[in-house]
């Protein structure tokens, strides 16, 4: 570890200017704060967090739609835990659950499917939020529901894909990113090749990184070395889990159940082709079609800067709400709720200025 820190210091001198690396994945964000490794980096090397926390990038209109659904009779909402605490326009799923709505936190989409099998008089709606790592697990649940004719199961789908979001960020000239720490677990599914266009089109280095402190420091060293040597390539630091082609069984399943669509990212807006919609073949498992769900325009606190934080354009302390009144116990924006959210990480490990 010490050698890597020394290499990073030397390479940053060779590069000779300030650099900004974006860690795209929320798990990387949390790992860099928790380990304290940010303090080991030279002042000229800055890490900024990107749009890699799935709950954080979910548009508030999706939350409002889920909240509206949970108020209908005989509906059970099944979801991963983080989403229940994110405020929509007027309330959150957690508040609705406290008021009597049937909202269940599950560990896996399979648990939601099981819940549907065990509750034939109810309609179970799973909140499908996440990137390429999570999407195949939900594709599997939909495929299985179709195979076994589980008619009371559906998914409110808001899946997103990462390369299009990275492309959208790079089109924003204000951000000036010098390198990407690419998300490790997304890459397990997709393969490392999906980032090649970033190197070819924008001449920006990419390193697929694992999640241990060692992995992240090594990836920063690799990014700096590319800059020092004038290279822009995809390097795979996380080769113990990621290969060039990815998990092809998972990719086939995703292609069977989902098709690309335009979708809204909180803080970024609509990114063409960056979402996954359920194919017509599986329309009866698509909650928007099976249950007639719509997405009315949401209204969130106008002072909340989660949108800028998610683009790497602002730090949590730049937000007037950060710490007071927005905190993990009373979150106003999603970045303060999620275990992968940068505001939550900052609050927990860096604290709040007095």
């Amino acid at each position: 570890m010490k050698a890597m820190v020394q290499n990073i210091a030397q390479l940053s001198q060779r590069v000779g200017h300030d650099v900004k690396f974006m860690e795209v994945c929320g798990t990387h964000t949390m790992a860099t704060f928790r380990s304290g490794l940010r303090q080991l980096l030279p002042v000229s090397v800055r890490l900024v967090s990107g749009p890699g926390c799935p709950v954080c990038v979910t548009d508030p209109s999706y939350l409002d739609a889920a909240i509206e659904l949970c108020g209908r009779p005989n509906i059970i909402i099944a979801t991963f835990g983080d989403l229940v605490r994110v405020p929509g326009t007027d309330t959150s799923l957690e508040q609705e659950r406290a008021a009597g709505a049937n909202v269940r936190i599950v560990y896996s989409p399979n648990d939601a499917l099981m819940l549907a099998r065990e509750s034939p008089s109810k309609k179970v709606v799973f909140l499908g939020v996440g990137f390429e790592t999570t999407a195949p697990t939900i594709a599997w649940a939909i495929w299985r529901a179709a195979r076994d004719d589980v008619q009371n199961f559906s998914v409110l789908c808001a899946h997103k894909t990462m390369p299009q979001a990275m492309d959208a960020l790079l089109r924003d000239k204000e951000l000036k990113i010098d390198g990407f720490l690419c998300p490790g677990h997304v890459s397990v599914i997709t393969g490392a090749h999906i980032y090649r266009f970033i190197c070819e089109r924008y001449r920006i280095p990419c390193v697929v990184s694992g999640f241990e402190s060692w992995d992240i420091l090594k990836s920063i060293e690799l990014l700096l070395r590319q800059l020092a040597e004038g290279r822009a390539e995809v390097e795979n630091e996380y080769s113990r889990s990621v290969n060039e082609r990815g998990n092809e069984a998972a990719q086939r399943l995703m292609a069977e159940v989902f098709e690309p669509c335009d979708t809204v990212w909180r803080g970024i807006g609509i990114i063409p082709g960056s979402g996954l919609a359920i194919r017509d073949k599986y329309a009866c498992f698509d909650a928007t079609k099976a249950l007639g769900v719509t997405f009315p325009e949401a209204h969130v606190n106008p002072l909340c800067r989660c949108g800028s934080v998610l683009r790497g354009a602002a730090s949590p302390p730049d937000c007037r709400l950060f710490g007071h009144p927005c905190s993990p116990t009373h979150p106003i924006g999603p970045c303060m709720v999620s275990g992968e959210g940068v505001c939550a990480a900052y609050y927990k490990y860096e604290g709040v200025a007095a």
Partner: protein, 66 residues
């Protein structure tokens, strides 16, 4: 630990947990797997397991700042 059709019981730091193994090829008892949302999404071979163990052993941030 146990394997039945598409479901395996695995040990995660000593705790037993059920995971779906439909997304990996040829799961076998004794495999090391990466798990996400209740699914095994990657199977580590022995050299990958050893790499992970070596990284864990090498990780000591106190040493890095000494």
């Amino acid at each position: 630990m146990e394997l039945h059709d598409s479901t395996a019981t695995i040990s995660v730091g000593g705790a037993m947990r059920e995971v779906d193994v439909s997304l990996i090829e040829e799961p076998r008892l004794g495999d090391h797997v990466l798990v996400h949302a209740g699914f095994a999404i990657h199977k580590w071979d022995q050299s990958e397991v050893e790499e992970f163990q070596a990284i864990r052993a090498a990780m000591d941030l106190r040493e890095a700042i000494a």
